[in-house]
């Protein structure tokens, strides 16, 4: 479904990615691991069209999407849940969600249905519908970001460290949601610091080191790989 062919990207003089290749099969969860600054977020931002690539190619459903605008890529069916608490703090929860459906804004009926669906997945958001998003807890804000991304009706969801700053209980719930979304047919590319959990949840894993792909393979194999265990799983 998604295929990165040797992409390179840089911020000014700083090389962020060098010849990164990666593939995500439809209906699967793939994870992208690595230390801070290894290029995980840059990879997602290249896919989303936020950061231009210098060389290589990005394919989605057989179409080349690199060089297209962020808006076109969202329209193709790729949504990103960015890292951190990226919400609209002074707007209501409901408005935060509606804005995720910007590309479908003319289809008001469908947008209403989609919001109802998001509330089904996250009943907590329904309770806080009219509250300012800035008043939500960290976990609720993460739910809101996922819900907002779903509002664009993606087929591929890019998630950038969704477990960051959440308590162990919430992390467990979050991964339940991720698996649930996957079961409904959503393909997911998951960037994580929590390598243990990410490899358990995903079918295939990639590990970046200094902007280059260091390891990749079925998640089960990566978990038993000696070097991976030492460097990323702390065992």
């Amino acid at each position: 479904m998604l295929k990165l062919e040797g992409i390179s990207a840089s911020y000014g003089a700083v090389q962020a990615l060098e010849g990164v290749s990666l593939e995500v099969e439809a209906g699967k969860i793939a994870c992208l691991l690595g230390a801070n600054g290894a290029g995980k977020s840059s990879t997602l931002n290249c896919i989303s069209g936020v950061v231009p690539i210098r060389s290589g190619a990005i394919w989605f459903d057989g179409q080349r999407i690199d060089g297209r605008s962020i808006e076109q890529i969202v329209r193709h069916g790729i949504a990103q849940v960015p890292e951190g608490r990226e919400i609209y703090p002074e707007m209501s929860v409901a408005d935060n969600l509606v804005l995720g459906a910007w590309i479908h804004r003319r289809d008001t009926k469908q947008v209403r249905n989609d919001i109802a669906r998001v509330y089904e997945i996250f009943p907590r958001l329904k309770e806080r519908e009219q509250q300012h998003a800035g008043t939500l807890s960290g976990g609720e804000q993460q739910m809101l970001m996922i819900g907002r991304a779903l509002m664009s009706r993606p087929r591929l969801l890019l998630m950038d460290e969704p477990s960051l700053g959440l308590s162990p209980v919430l992390v467990e719930k979050l991964f339940e949601v991720i698996e649930h979304l996957n079961q409904t047919g959503l393909t997911i590319l998951l960037v994580e610091q929590n390598a243990q959990l990410a490899l358990k949840t995903s079918e295939y894993g990639y590990i970046l080191e200094n902007g280059e792909m260091a390891f990749h393979g079925p998640s089960g194999e990566l978990r038993s790989n000696e070097k991976v265990r030492e460097a990323y799983l702390g065992t």
Binding site: I70, E71, V74, I87, L99
Partner: protein, 299 residues
Amino acid sequence: MSTTLALVIISGIATGAIYSLIALSIVIVYKASDAVNFAAGEFTMVGAYIALFFIVSASLPYYLIFPIVAAATFILGGAFERLVVVPITNRTKGRENPLIPIVIATFGLSLMLTGFVRVFPYTEEVRSLPPLIRGAPIFVGGVPILLTDIAIVVVAVTAILGFWLFFSYTMLGKALQASSQNPRTAALSGIPVAKMRMIVWAIAGLMAGVSGMLVGPKLALTPNLGGIIMIAIAAAVIGGFSNLPGSILGGFIVGVVQNLIGYFFGSTTIAVAPFLIIMVVLLFRPQGLFGGPVHVKKV
């Protein structure tokens, strides 16, 4: 309360409604671009002169002049963003203090507009616009209230209400807010953030332009009318500079306080009022009268 005092306050409310509009114009640009548009006062002045031009040369009625002024200042605001602010932003990306060049450009625009209107007729002498409505004043408890004052407040409040409805309830208005609050995330949802920023500047131009049409009948019209921006900045400061309802209320407060200062200490002291208000607010409540604690902006 003496009748004179009541008159002073009522007149203050009418001018206050106008200041609210200009303050809103400044604050929405500040929220979208982080920069203060120091040419907002000149948008007011240009709006007033466009109205004057069509009244004197073509005797157009106000209901026809209103859309002309609104459209012209809307385009002027959007064009300035696209032709000046965007190129500057692209050139200063990643540099230290990228906003200073933008602010200086707005100063430049204010000087250009002041110079530019002098080319047109009717600007060489002090004039003023005819009242919005003619007719005998209405007496409320023995106090005569001018119809034009009522009309100013009604038009300004209607405009403000319209903006509020637009920003809160339409998808475009919400996207404009979102692009101001978190542009990176808005872009990830496919919202064309650059276009949104241009629309905000255009709307800000329109707000100030319309205020010019309202201020024209109350104040003497000269190409230096742009100085009115200090009063609007005082209103915005009362609102904490990023709180829209606070800025609206700030406009009314400044309008009334200014008149009261003039009433008690003589009309020559009126000019000092906005500066006094800015200083007092910044000294005692820098977050504005209505904001919470001071927010440190994330970088």
